[in-house]
């Protein structure tokens, strides 16, 4: 709430501008499509669980892409799965964001050289906003990726859409 200002004595009135208001609303409740593919999914589940809570940032897992804002692609992306991910990504309503979690979806991971069935990086199919490196990244690393995404959303402008 640091960039919404209180101007009046009555605390229920807040004066701000449209950009800040929209950005604050969007970054405070990023609902994610529960999309875990491989080992990184376990770290994502650990991040959502009690110790490194995701819910305190407003991120709750939703079963359908139509209800969500963000997709965290965690795990190895095969060629077969990449076509399905593209379809799910197109089903998320705007404004939508993509976090690529782990080495496999950043750039192919340990399968970069000989993997005949692995897509070497999710950014060959969908536009990625934040890359979180690690194999798998620790929950704190995924949380930092989420904070970087929130910083990115904070400076958007309503007049020019983000994509």
């Amino acid at each position: 709430m640091s960039f919404l200002e209180t101007d009046f004595v009555d605390e229920n009135i807040i004066v701000t501008n449209v950009n800040d208001l929209f950005n604050w609303a969007r970054l405070s409740s990023l609902w994610q499509v529960g999309f875990g593919l491989a080992c990184c999914a376990i770290e994502m589940m650990a991040t959502s669980a009690a110790h490194y809570d995701f819910d305190r940032f407003g991120v709750i897992p939703r079963p359908s892409p139509r209800h969500s804002d963000i997709i965290i692609i965690s795990g190895t992306v095969t060629l077969k799965m990449a076509l399905r991910i593209k379809r799910i990504y197109e089903q998320i309503p705007d404004p939508k964001y993509v976090i690529s979690m782990g080495s496999c979806s950043n750039s192919g991971g340990p399968y970069w050289e000989h993997g005949y069935h692995v897509l070497k990086g999710m950014d060959r199919v969908v536009p990625v906003d934040v890359y979180v490196p690690g194999c798998p990244p620790r929950p704190e690393a995924l949380l930092e990726g989420l904070l970087k995404l929130r910083d990115k959303i904070k400076y958007e402008r309503v007049a020019t859409p983000n994509k």
């Binding site: 060629l79 077969k80 990449a82 076509l83 005949y116 069935h117 897509l119 070497k120 060959r124 199919v125």
Partner: protein, 175 residues
């Protein structure tokens, strides 16, 4: 409990020239069977009261890479001639004995009888051998690709030694 040599003796009386010890009679590690007789040998081993091999533990394919290497201008190579092998590991739960069967087929036209009618567990293993090595199994109930996408390029089998990645697949850069 029977050893490989005892089982081989019984097979030899029934199938004659189609079976032999592999790699040699001095080192009887497994039994080599011709590709067309494998279904009869399997049925015999499965049904016979003395052996009762009721469980297929593993079916895998091997690229022997024993043909001639033809070098191509861009540094890669093709292998022509030679053999591909299919290895069957069988086990009997009642008698607790095991045996390994090997089938060798030509690389140019790899065709083997499927053992799915005898052991249902061989179904997906044979699909994997077809997908990744290109060995065609006759009388298989559903011989389609299992790991690569269903419309992957024909004749492109990743686990061969002379496999090269294609450039693009449906607009995605593969390399």
């Amino acid at each position: 409990m029977k050893t490989t040599v005892e089982i081989f003796e019984a097979l030899k009386t029934n199938f004659g020239e189609a079976v032999e010890l592999y790699p040699s009679p001095e080192k009887p590690e497994s039994v080599k069977v011709t590709p067309s007789e494998i279904i009869n040998v399997s049925r015999f081993l499965h049904d016979n009261e003395a052996f009762l091999f009721d469980s297929i533990v593993l079916l895998s394919s091997v690229d022997d890479a024993n043909g001639t290497k033809v070098s191509l201008p861009d540094g890669s190579f093709d292998i022509q001639g030679g053999t591909l092998s299919v290895v069957y590991h069988l086990e009997s739960i009642s008698f607790r004995h095991k045996i390994t069967l090997i089938v060798k087929t030509d690389r140019a036209n790899p065709v083997v009888q499927s053992v799915t009618p005898v052991w249902n567990g061989a179904d997906w293993h044979e699909r994997e051998a077809f997908d990744l090595m290109g060995i065609i199994f006759l009388n298989h109930p559903n011989l389609i690709r299992i790991l690569m996408p269903y419309d992957w390029y024909d004749g492109s089998h990743p686990l061969r030694k002379d496999y090269r990645n294609p450039e693009f697949y449906k607009g995605m850069k593969v390399n």
